[in-house]
């Protein structure tokens, strides 16, 4: 079979990379929790540590009964709830505003999508430089604390930065969803005498629901994995726990000072479970939410 040989030749490079850098480490990640690194084997000493010791389910037990894990999960959920709906709402608002037939609207469309050019690191650096604790130009303070170090307000502040950074993407996605709605449907509603608010609620919004749903799932997945914003914006909170999201914990436990691979791997499994759940929900609901074909 020449065709099969050709096909596998074409897939081979990818399969090799997937095997080495996706599937192997993925499977390996499930074995880490059963071992304990016997000596401190930090960031730079990788591979030179003494062989790890089998400890069975002990670390699973430790992690799932620890305050750190549940607190981190709770903070992460809070962060997702703070960012995702707000991002979608703003994106939708901008998309509706930019959907008008006005002179120069393309300039506004460009501006509204501009933050896609900003990475999380760029956005975080900008805001840290503006309102950061030490070096910020404004050194925003609340209740006498620096805003980004405040127990209550650090997370919402970081969430706002994240919303700003993802606004461009949210706008682009909502915009193209809006453009995919056939004009004649809205015109029909107009002929039927529906007001603009009613047209939006009864026609636009339902037809946009697949797009909103997609944005919701993709946005949630990426919010659950937030790392750069925390690393760059929250020098204190990330260590004391106020803003230590799951992804940050994975990195901290695995790669900082004393290596705790096993625990880090369990946090990672938690993240994986969430991503998997969201993906499955999306696949399940995709058919239901789409109208027609």
């Amino acid at each position: 079979m020449r065709e099969s040989a050709l096909a596998y030749a074409m897939l081979a490079p990818s399969l090799l990379i997937f095997g080495a850098f996706v599937f192997f480490p993925f499977v390996k990640n499930f074995s880490f929790p059963f071992y304990q690194q016997s000596t401190a084997s930090g960031f730079g000493t990788f591979g030179k540590a003494a062989p790890p010791k089998w400890v069975g389910w002990q670390q699973w037990h430790e992690v799932f009964t620890s305050r750190t894990f549940w607190h981190s999960a709770w903070v992460t959920v809070q962060f997702v709830v703070l960012t995702v709906p707000l991002g979608i709402a703003f994106g939708l608002l901008l998309a509706v505003l930019a959907h008008q037939r006005l002179r120069g609207i393309t300039i506004f469309r460009t501006i509204f999508s501009s933050t896609v050019a900003s990475s999380a690191a760029v956005a975080s650096t900008i805001f840290f430089s503006l309102i950061g604790t030490e070096s910020g130009l404004w050194k925003l303070r609340i209740h006498g604390h620096a805003l980004l170090d405040d127990k209550t307000w650090a997370l919402p502040a970081i969430a706002l930065v994240s919303v700003w950074q993802s606004l461009g993407l949210s706008f682009i996605v909502m915009s193209s969803g809006l453009q995919a709605i056939p004009d004649d449907l809205l015109e029909a509603a107009r002929v039927d005498g529906a007001s603009s608010v009613r047209r939006f609620r009864r026609v636009t919004l339902p037809l946009l629901s697949p797009t909103i749903f997609f944005a919701f799932v993709v946005g949630s997945i990426s919010a659950f994995k937030t790392f750069a914003e925390i690393d760059l914006l929250s020098p204190i909170g990330k260590e004391t726990g106020g803003t230590s999201l799951l992804a940050y914990q994975v990195k901290r436990l695995a790669f900082e000072s004393e290596s705790r691979n096993g625990q880090a791997a369990i946090f990672a499994v938690g993240l994986f479970a969430i991503v998997l759940l969201l993906t499955l929900i999306q696949m399940r609901l995709e058919r239901r939410v789409h109208y027609g074909r």
């Binding site: 079979m1 065709e3 096909a7 074409m10 897939l11 490079p13 990818s14 399969l15 990379i17 997937f18 850098f21 599937f23 192997f24 480490p25 993925f26 390996k28 990788f46 591979g47 608002l93 505003l97 006005l102 501006i111 999508s113 501009s114 896609v116 050019a117 900003s118 990475s119 999380a120 690191a121 760029v122 956005a123 650096t125 805001f127 430089s129 503006l130 070096s135 910020g136 130009l137 700003w164 682009i172 996605v173 915009s175 193209s176 969803g177 697949p210 797009t211 944005a215 993709v218 790392f227 750069a228 690393d231 760059l232 994975v250 990195k251 695995a254 790669f255 791997a265 994986f272 991503v275």
Partner: protein, 280 residues
């Protein structure tokens, strides 16, 4: 609400209101970027009393400092190498994979396809512990290989291009077979040229992702010679606590190339980013 009447009677008033809302929103979005650019043009001393709103005596000295002293030039160069490398290789593997899934029949095709899709559901955090270990084992710590190789295969890209390739009429494949074109030449001479828009969108998406990577480069590089600009920003901040103007300049340098690129290819960007969101 007498909507239709007001439209015909007060079109100017309505337009002004609309523009007002648009301008306010645009201002809110651009404000952080604007302040960053303005203050990146100021002498550090001019910011003693907080940020300025208008560059009275603009200077490029912060950019010079960021570029050379703070190595942002080097970081950018590294990022270009890494992002271009990842993009070129991802496009290649995705074209091959997309072609196999769209045009070839082979045993275990479904299983292979499911495997490709499965890679989309595995977040990087789950693989990162072992992958960092692997990079150390291979002796790739602080190297371009560590930054590029793990990302040269893409399930998403292959899936995207497969969709794009499936739109190529089957008759063209038959016609090419009769005309004496085997798979490779059909791919090169017919499929790739026809699907150029889809490939461009996928490439831009890959480039953007590679350019913006943060966690991975942070873990596998510690040397300025390999650091990318995203983690360079973190470095910049800790090294230049005193002169925030240099940080601003570095941020603009990290932001500007990608902004210009996206401006030039906004159509492909929209296509790439919304793939999957809107059917049809």
């Amino acid at each position: 609400m007498a909507v239709s009447i007001s439209v015909s009677q007060r079109p100017v008033g309505r337009s002004i209101a609309r523009y007002f809302v648009l301008i306010v929103m645009a201002g809110l979005i651009l404000f952080p970027i604007y302040i960053t650019i303005v203050n990146s043009l100021m002498e550090p001393t001019a910011l003693a009393n907080g940020p300025v709103w208008w560059p009275s005596h603009p200077t490029l000295s912060n950019y010079a400092t960021a570029w050379t002293n703070a190595h942002v030039g080097r970081y950018l160069w590294n990022t270009v190498i890494v992002a271009v490398g990842i993009t070129a290789l991802q496009v290649s593997t995705a074209i091959l994979g997309g072609y196999a899934f769209a045009f070839l029949n082979f045993p275990l095709k479904r299983l292979m396809f499911v495997m490709y899709l499965a890679t989309l559901m595995i977040p990087g955090e789950v693989t990162i512990i072992q992958n960092v270990q692997t990079v150390h084992d291979l002796g790739w710590y602080n190297s371009y290989a560590a930054l590029i190789v793990p990302f040269i295969a893409t399930g998403f890209g292959a899936f995207l291009l497969r969709q794009s390739f499936l739109a190529v009429p089957a008759d063209l494949q038959d016609a090419a077979a009769l005309d004496g074109y085997g798979h490779w030449r059909f791919l090169r001479r017919v499929v790739v040229p026809i699907c150029r828009p889809g490939i461009a969108a996928m490439a831009l998406f890959a480039f953007l992702g590679a350019w913006n990577q943060y966690l991975w480069p942070l873990l596998v590089t510690s040397d300025d010679r390999y650091r990318t600009v995203q983690i360079g920003l973190k470095q910049l901040r800790t090294e230049n606590l005193s002169s925030v103007t240099v940080v601003f300049a570095g941020t603009v340098l990290a932001f500007l190339p990608i902004a210009l690129l996206l401006l030039a290819f906004s159509k492909q960007l929209v296509r790439g980013l919304t793939a999957g969101a809107v059917k049809g």
